[in-house]
């Protein structure tokens, strides 16, 4: 590749990587803010009940039990969100590594759920095998999956289902993602070059009534 197009491509990758990272972290921080708002209001409600008790009102033991349970549930929710975010943040630690594909797809799809939920799109994940490891770039693989899902979301008014499934052998891993066709599409040049970064290729195929994107990962040889 000539120097100028290569530089332009690397700049494009950098810009898109930052946009991708920003989109995911913004979504996660929005969710966490909701959790903290609920905890904040719960604290406020406890203050209200305490004040009421100090004024001679009843101490509602059952209500306190419910409040305590809901508080625990929100804290657990917050911890889950933070752990997923932490896993995502650490995907930039190693440019290439052996990646557990079903695990990566699961964690990433959970991070995507708020974004797909805003369009009322149900994201469904299926794994044909639980053990599927391949050498790839975890960050760029997630970025490719994100771009594929994002285009389908842009083509969706509201509602519907998006299925993602993983399968494979010792030699290669496959990630199949439903395509919702419409005005928006992936930039073919950009996708080809991103596929190089992950040690794989992307194809669009027809399977019955559906169209699917298939990411095939064979590792770096």
């Amino acid at each position: 590749m000539n120097e100028k197009p290569q530089r332009e491509f690397e700049q494009q990758i950098l810009n898109d990587s930052l946009l991708f990272f920003g989109k995911i972290t913004a979504s996660v921080s929005h969710e966490l803010n909701n959790v903290l708002s609920i905890i904040d209001q719960t604290g406020g409600l406890l203050d209200d009940l305490l004040y009421n008790a100090q004024q001679g009102g009843e101490i509602p033991h059952e209500r306190l039990r419910t409040i305590s349970d809901k508080l625990s549930a929100q804290i657990e929710r917050g911890v889950r969100i933070i752990k997923r975010m932490n896993t995502f943040a650490h995907t930039v630690d190693d440019p290439i590594k052996k990646v557990d594909i079903p695990n990566l797809v699961d964690t990433f799809c959970k991070l995507m759920q708020r974004l797909t939920g805003l369009k009322k799109v149900d994201l469904q994940v299926e794994h044909q095998t639980s053990m599927l490891q391949v050498d790839t770039s975890p960050f760029f693989l997630q970025m490719l999956i994100f771009n594929i899902i994002q285009v389908s979301l842009q083509n969706t008014e509201t509602g519907g289902t998006l299925c993602i499934s993983t399968s494979g052998t010792e030699e290669k891993a496959l990630i199949e993602i439903d395509r919702i066709a419409g005005k928006y599409d992936l930039d073919p040049d950009f996708v080809i070059k991103l596929s190089d970064k992950i040690g794989g290729k992307l194809e669009l195929i027809k399977k019955g009534e559906k169209e699917l994107f298939i990411i095939e990962l064979s590792g770096f040889n």
């Binding site: 909701n34 406020g44 409600l45 805003l118």
Partner: protein, 143 residues
Amino acid sequence: MAQERVLLVDDETEFTELLAERMRNREMDVDTADSGEKAIEMVKNKYYDAIILDLSMPGMDGIETLNAILGDNPDQQVIFLTGYASVPKTVEALKKGAVEFLEKPADINQLIDLVREAQIKKAELFEKRAEDSIEKLKRGKSW
């Protein structure tokens, strides 16, 4: 003034239920809706002094909901309560007719003050419309 009537709109139902309970403990009449679509239906059937509305919701977002509500009820007082108040979104919401734009977590006392101000403002606007209608009628009859 009469009891304040408030509609809380947010897809985080745990949040709206808690806030509603706290506001009811402060003698307010509070309803909740978990979507913009539901809120629009509820506003058709009940008078609310203020609507406290989330910006980011599945389906109809806060701005779309605001447009739909103000289309039928231009005097409706709407307060945005959202996770992230970017400058462009704040400006857009205020230009479209929201009365205030707050970030979560919000202080309940601040919210209550805003609801009370909204009640007064809405009543004043209603009174003004009624006076304007009477004036128009008088002019028409040449009284």
